[in-house]
Amino acid sequence: MCTNMLTSVNESIDALVIYRRGAPHPLLHAFRWKNRQYDVTATYLIHREKEGENVCLVYSVGCCRDTYVLRLDVGRGRWTLEALETGD
């Protein structure tokens, strides 16, 4: 019947982002996880979540054939890799 094809990770990561003039969100260019760099090849969706005054941006991106969900805690400037789905 179902459903969740994502595998939960929830690990803190380093990210390389581009702040483009006029863009509503910083663009995620690449991130480093487990000593490996992942170059973002597609940004599928970015959405905003708010818990009290704390704002987070949730990125759903593609790196080659895999999909990664990452969270930017805007206030703390912290990136987390939340989940991934391999394209196999």
């Binding site: 459903t3 969740n4 094809m5 959405h47 708010k50 759903s60 969900v69 789905e85």
Partner: protein, 411 residues
């Protein structure tokens, strides 16, 4: 000058957003649910699922019968709300006369702007192009264009999904003849049945009915029906800048089987009262009429009554106590309920109410203010009633993706 109204409706909205976020869902029949269990309902079906007959509101077990390969996806209301805010920001660049009708539907009066952008159809194409570029290729919309809201919505529905439909004046007679009254926005089953009893089934027939008869049968609404039957629609657009004051504030919850026992349902009700009270305080209102009701069984009738408070209130405890009084008045005393809810009406702006001089009321007011400050800073889940810990936490949006209109504030 004839108005040019656009009705923009996102296609299979929640499902499309999920497919945009997760490419592996694309091209597959998916159903967005509150909880992916057979007891849940489908709150949105992807266009692929719709081809199998899966519809919004369908119980999951029925949807799986229609489409055994259906993939169930837990919905993410914050994600949808965030995308809605984004597309509304885009639309605001086209006109300020924009009415946010729901999380996935918008009306726009583009009478002034359309000629400057090469006409309404070209403008609609441009909007859809912006959506494609800025929201993603899987989040599509359908735009209906006509001289009034009702007809814009109607012509849009005929061009779904991912289309643009324009109703020209010379096409109106054909549309009136081919449209059943029940297909028109605002004409519900009851009105349709009443019209059917007097032989009115199409808009054309509605337009030929006597105005006096419709007024006698349906009051002022009858005049609107007559106008629609004539192919006219003067329903005003309510721009987001002039959102009318709320008439009531309420919350209800469909309960999973493990919470249907009345004693547990009352704990959920206490939480709902708290939630409604907080919304009222945030909006700056107090209410006097408290309506409380429940449903027994998934398709059983709704049992509800109301009471009037001596003084307006926006405190969860006061509202809950009023609910208990209301429930006492209802003759049906079930052991289990499937849905429970509260609604507070007769709202007055807080600044127009008298301050209570009672120390207990003042203390409660200070407590509410402190709790609101904590929740504003750390989120609604940061502080909650101890009683709510007695029930297993239930997903935020079980049984439907309720979005309060104030969640959609776009000003």
């Amino acid at each position: 000058m004839q108005r040019v109204i656009m009705h923009l409706d996102m296609d299979s909205y929640f499902a499309s957003v999920e497919q945009q976020a997760l490419p592996s869902l694309r091209g597959k029949p998916i159903g967005v649910t509150g909880r992916p269990t057979e007891r849940s309902i489908v709150v949105a079906a992807s266009r692929e699922a719709k081809r199998y007959g899966v519809r919004t509101g369908m119980p999951v077990w029925e949807a799986l019968k229609a489409c055994p390969d259906l993939l169930l996806v837990s919905g993410n209301p914050e994600r949808y709300l965030s995308v809605t805010k984004r597309f509304i920001e885009i639309l605001k660049e086209y006109t300020a006369l924009l009415e946010v009708y729901s999380i996935d539907e918008v009306f726009m009066d583009v009478t002034q702007e359309a000629p400057k952008r090469g006409g309404a159809v070209r403008m609609a194409e441009e909007i859809r192009g912006r959506f494609h570029e800025e929201l993603g290729e899987y989040i599509t919309s359908t735009i209906g264009i006509a001289a009034g809201k009702t007809f814009a919505k109607l012509i849009g529905a005929r061009n779904k999904p991912n289309g643009i439909g324009r109703l020209d004046p010379e096409e109106i007679p054909e549309l009136l003849a081919s449209t059943r009254v029940g297909d028109v926005w605002g004409i519900g089953r009851r009105i349709e049945a009443r019209l059917d009893r007097v032989g009115i089934r199409t808009l054309h027939e509605l337009g030929h009915a006597s105005e006096q008869f419709l007024k006698r049968e349906f009051g002022v609404y009858g005049l609107h029906l007559h106008e629609i039957g004539q192919g006219k629609d003067s329903t005003p657009l309510v721009p987001y800048t002039e959102v009318p004051a709320p008439k009531s504030v309420g919350h209800s919850k469909s309960l999973p089987p493990e919470l249907r026992d009345i004693s547990l349902a009352l704990i959920v009700l206490r939480d709902l009262c708290d939630k409604a009270a907080r919304r009222m305080r945030r909006l700056g209102y107090m209410g006097r009429t408290v309506h409380c009701g429940f449903r027994v069984g998934s398709i059983g009738p709704h049992h509800g009554k109301q009471t009037t408070l001596a003084l307006p209130a926006n405190d969860g405890e006061t509202i809950y106590e009023a609910c208990l009084t209301v429930l006492d008045k209802i003759s049906v005393k079930p052991e289990k309920v499937s849905n429970i809810g509260v609604s507070i009406g007769n709202l007055v702006p807080t600044e127009k109410t008298l301050c209570s001089l009672l120390e207990t009321d003042q203390r409660r007011e200070r407590l509410n203010a402190a709790v609101d400050r904590i929740r504003d800073q750390y989120g609604d889940r940061s502080i909650r009633l101890g009683t709510s810990l007695l029930v297993r936490p239930i997903p935020q949006h079980v049984g439907g993706f309720f979005m309060a209109s104030d969640d959609l504030e776009v000003g």
